[in-house]
Subunit: 212 residues, 2 copies
């Protein structure tokens, strides 16, 4: 398998964690977003959305990080990232989507660029926008985790799941942008647990081959 | 089952379509977003994210439309909304996420409100923002559909899947906001096919009990 990734892309980081948790080897193919390498025909022909990540598995070119991880879960079920019964799996997926649909899309690079370049927002307003969605979005995740019996050492139980795979890259983004995190103690406890595992720490942005 | 829904919420509409395609009966529980009913404790206690939809199935309170639909797929597999092998399912999920992660989150009510009320954007700029993400996002979907052998009468093959379930509500939003759609002929052909089916037409916003 080949993973087309950008070290700082949190959607790429999700897939790097999932591959590592499942112990799957892959070739790292850097796509430099700030240099717009995702727009070059060699990449854009493979991925009409011109986003990272993309996973090549034989003839299949797979896009959208959550779809890629579901694919890995189906083709390499162990260890499970969606364990338990249908209701458990629904809780795990909902936590992942609380981040992947409610926080991350509002703060990715092309959106921030559009706010400044096309909507005329100042850098100060842009930063306020960024922090607002991280702060309010993580507060929702905190409410889902705190005091729920299903929450364990990790977001759901005592082994990492898809929810943790999506949470950790979001916290990296939040820290890089100096977002307040004191109001989400359960989130940060789980983040700390995750970072003790090589699958999370060894695939973090600064550990990537294209880190700069 | 009880579905907490707002007639105009496209995330709610996704779940209404999925329930209808699977022939599952449910009680319709209206939550009026413009009246902020989602913030009332009776609802917010069930759903910490204070968003619609929410599906109650016995003791389970399920949130996030895509997680709810995956749950329905696991508990009521027929007819399948994620048919085929792992690669087919990945293509269907990626199409759904191209809309659910790249278009819809940028244009939902709370985001538009924040742009105007907190970022000081004019209504004209807000509308430009809205149309930009619909237009560019659907163009990506068009590129994924047009000329691909896996595209059939619907987004993937000749029966409706999760991709169609997510696509149709997005087109309703686009039409309501007068977004240009001439540049996405394959998308619109599939939309037309879907709307011949009662599962899509009979659950549309104007057909909901709380439509106004």
């Amino acid at each position: 398998m080949q993973l087309y990734s950008y070290f700082r892309s949190s959607a790429s980081y999700r897939v790097r964690i999932a591959l590592a948790l499942k112990g799957l080897p892959y070739e790292y193919m850097p796509v430099h977003l700030l240099k717009n390498e995702q727009l070059q025909p060699s990449y854009a022909d493979m991925n009409p959305a011109r986003l990272v990540p993309l996973l090549k598995d034989g003839d299949h070119a797979l896009t959208q990080s959550l779809a890629i991880i579901e694919y890995l879960e189906e083709t390499h079920p162990q260890p499970p990232l969606l364990p338990g019964d249908a209701a458990s799996r629904a809780r795990i997926r909902a936590l992942a989507l609380d981040i992947a649909c409610e926080i991350h899309p509002l703060n990715n690079l092309r959106v921030l660029r559009y706010l400044v370049q096309d909507m005329g927002l100042s850098d100060e307003h842009k930063n306020r926008w960024y922090k607002h969605w991280v702060e309010s979005g993580l507060e929702v995740v905190e409410r889902q985790l705190a005091g729920q019996a299903a929450t364990g050492r990790f977001c759901h139980g005592d082994a990492p799941t898809l929810a943790d795979v999506v949470l950790v890259p979001q916290i990296f983004n939040a820290q890089r942008m100096d977002c307040p995190l004191d109001h989400v103690p359960t989130v940060m406890r789980v983040f700390g647990e995750c970072m003790t595992l090589p699958a999370f720490s060894g695939t973090q942005p600064s550990a990537c081959p294209d880190a700069s």
